[in-house]
Subunit: 408 residues, 2 copies
């Protein structure tokens, strides 16, 4: 797909809300008052505007430095690469907050009641990958409470160019998880992501779209109606400042946030190289379970899922209870071992079972032959055969007994 | 299915060859001369006729006793349950051998060149399950050399009531394994078994049908044309004497033989309760790899495969190289890590890649903005953008650069 290239604008001028509707500021939680006061909040807004998610240079330069001090040093130009300096010239944190409020977005930071502490795992994951790092804050739109919602949440991600199987399965599992009180987190992309969001919405569940652009932007554009539904019923979240456009770096950084924010990441369909596998890698790094839905081996779209199960110890899951088991603490949320429905065979006594096992499939045998094979005496065998006849498991003809159903 | 009950006959009278055609005695390997002489061969024929496969009582009574001695004790009625005594009255090993030869069948015993020693693993597996035990000998029909064929062989088994997906996959994998010189072992049942046999036959490969009845019997009947093709091109094998009919006990015993005879067992499709899962259990007990083909989670027929992968450490396999890797000794037969076809992205230099990652997806950005995001100087960025344009990865409009393809 070749996107049409719309006229460029500066980052500050892009506060036109691109969502198709909804998302008014009414009834929306406000940023909590617990979070470090105005200075810290403004510093975090500014830092989020200047420093790209997971910027390794920033992580190094500011190691051990508080955010307010970081922000002061940047403002005084005591530190900084060319790219930070260029951006500093245009940053106005107060206006960012005002403009965000105008589209119903709030900025959630550590210490706020809504802050999801689990994303701080990214401080450690940063040791492993150059794109880690804890977000300075999260821009949030929608009526749900970010922390509470994410406390019981599963990420469902996968291919944009998914099959109808993948889209069906993503929707069903998302709806099923919603029904069990889990929020469904995804990336708002075409395909599996959209199917997962829609599945949750379809039963009135809460879904969280984590974007690789500002929360006032709609990417992909044609999902704008979906985003406006999510804003009414769940949450749209991004660490990128309002107005920011997506780039590949930002998609990859977004994937880390999805993995860190949810209790586990489920890949429904993915090609062997795909953003979904990147998400799985982040979940591993964050110590979150990685799950994958199998599919036909004839489908390229299931190759990534199968690879994860084969090579990277992802848990194969086929239904909602298995997903809940995987994301629950060890020994809790266990699903029962799967059995097919009970059959009459399950209830048979030892003698009945031995007799049944000795009855021929095809060519009838007389009672004494069955007794011989079963190792039972004749009266016992005779009684057993009559009981089995009553259960319609064996069948008597003029020449002897054979099975009613064919085993194999 | 309710089989019609044909008139009963005694075990000795059933030497009518039920196969649709083929299977003449011409050009068929003869029983080797290495195997313990006539006395042992006749003893083994007789024991196979009297003692059911995996008869635990026999295993106990005759522990540490040679087969010739076992046979003598039975003949002298020094030992024996009622069931053995009843059968002893009718056993004529010489006539069994003659009648088998008349339909082109031979009896292979330990010491014969064709004897597949790996089935002796069942002597140990017997400690774990009451239906184990090494066959006294194997009735074999067909031109192939049993031992040589089984040395490189994979069992492919599964549901009788399989889906078209399962049947397709079983056939394709069987054909692929045949093409790599592997014999395909299965049980001759409807569904997955038949598809596996046919897949091997379709490319002129060797396939081995291990039956739960005599090698002159065709069960299921409607597979008789398939069996006669297998007898021409591969092998039909059974530990049951000619004329024996299948029973559930014999199906279960047959499964142990398939598992022990092959290098590994692949389950293509299976319901949660099925003979295929019994086969997998036997393969585990015999120390052979268990493999399973995933499928749609919406298909009941894949539930058994998924259960094996989730709960019993079966190896998820999706193609022939992965199967060969699983059945090969550790560190050999490795398949290459699966990647999708190389893309232009793979070949990019560090600068090109950094630049590309910084180009917006949708809204064009001018060169200096991209340089800022990428952390590169302007001339380097300009050069990189031109190189990326030549590769058709980025696209320049009046207002700046954006990606040609949308990542996600």
């Amino acid at each position: 797909m070749t996107p049409t290239c719309a006229p460029a604008t500066t980052i500050q001028s892009r506060f036109v809300d691109e969502f198709g509707g909804g998302g008014s500021a009414d009834g929306v939680p406000r940023a909590g008052v617990g979070g470090g006061g105005d200075a810290e909040r403004l510093a975090r807004v500014g830092l989020g505007r200047v420093i790209e998610p997971g910027d390794l240079a920033a992580l190094k330069v500011f190691e051990g430095v508080g955010v307010v001090e970081m922000w002061e040093r940047l403002r005084r130009q005591e530190v900084g690469t060319e790219r930070w300096v260029t951006r500093m010239a245009k940053v106005e944190p107060e206006r960012d907050l005002e403009r965000a409020a105008a589209v119903g977005a709030r900025f959630v930071i550590p210490g706020d009641d809504e802050w999801p502490e689990q994303v701080e795992v990214l401080a450690e994951a940063g040791q492993l990958s150059r794109r880690a790092g804890v977000p300075f804050g999260l821009w949030v739109r929608g009526p749900a409470h970010l922390r509470q919602v994410l406390e019981q949440s599963v990420a469902i991600v996968g291919a944009r160019a998914c099959s109808s199987y993948g889209s069906h399965v993503a929707g069903e599992l998302a709806a099923g998880l919603s029904g069990k009180g889990y929020a469904v987190v995804s990336g708002g992309a075409y395909g599996i992501d959209a199917a997962a969001h829609r599945g949750a919405l379809s039963i009135g569940g809460v879904t969280v779209a984590v974007l690789a652009c500002g929360v006032d932007k709609s990417y992909p554009r044609s999902n704008s109606a979906l985003f406006s539904r999510i804003v009414e019923q769940g949450l749209v979240v991004s660490e990128l400042s309002p107005g920011c456009s997506p780039s590949k770096l930002r998609f990859l950084a977004r994937n880390r946030l999805i993995a860190a924010a949810s209790q586990g990441t489920l890949i429904v369909e993915a090609a062997v190289r795909s953003g979904a596998l990147n998400s799985a890698g982040w979940a591993e790094q964050c110590g979150r379970p990685v799950m994958a839905v199998p599919g036909p081996i004839t489908s390229r779209m299931s190759e990534g899922s199968h690879l994860l199960i084969r090579e990277r110890d992802a848990v194969l899951v086929t239904d909602v209870p298995e997903i809940i088991e995987a994301v629950s603490p060890l020994g809790t949320g266990l699903t029962s071992y799967r059995h097919s429905p009970k059959t009459p065979f399950d209830e048979l006594s030892h003698e009945l079972r031995r007799t049944l096992d000795a009855v021929p499939v095809q060519t009838p045998a007389p009672t004494h032959r069955i007794a011989t094979t079963a190792g039972l005496d004749l009266p016992t065998t005779q009684d057993a055969l009559e009981a089995l006849t009553a259960l319609n498991l064996v069948h008597q003809s003029a020449t002897g007994w054979c099975l009613t159903r064919q085993p194999g």
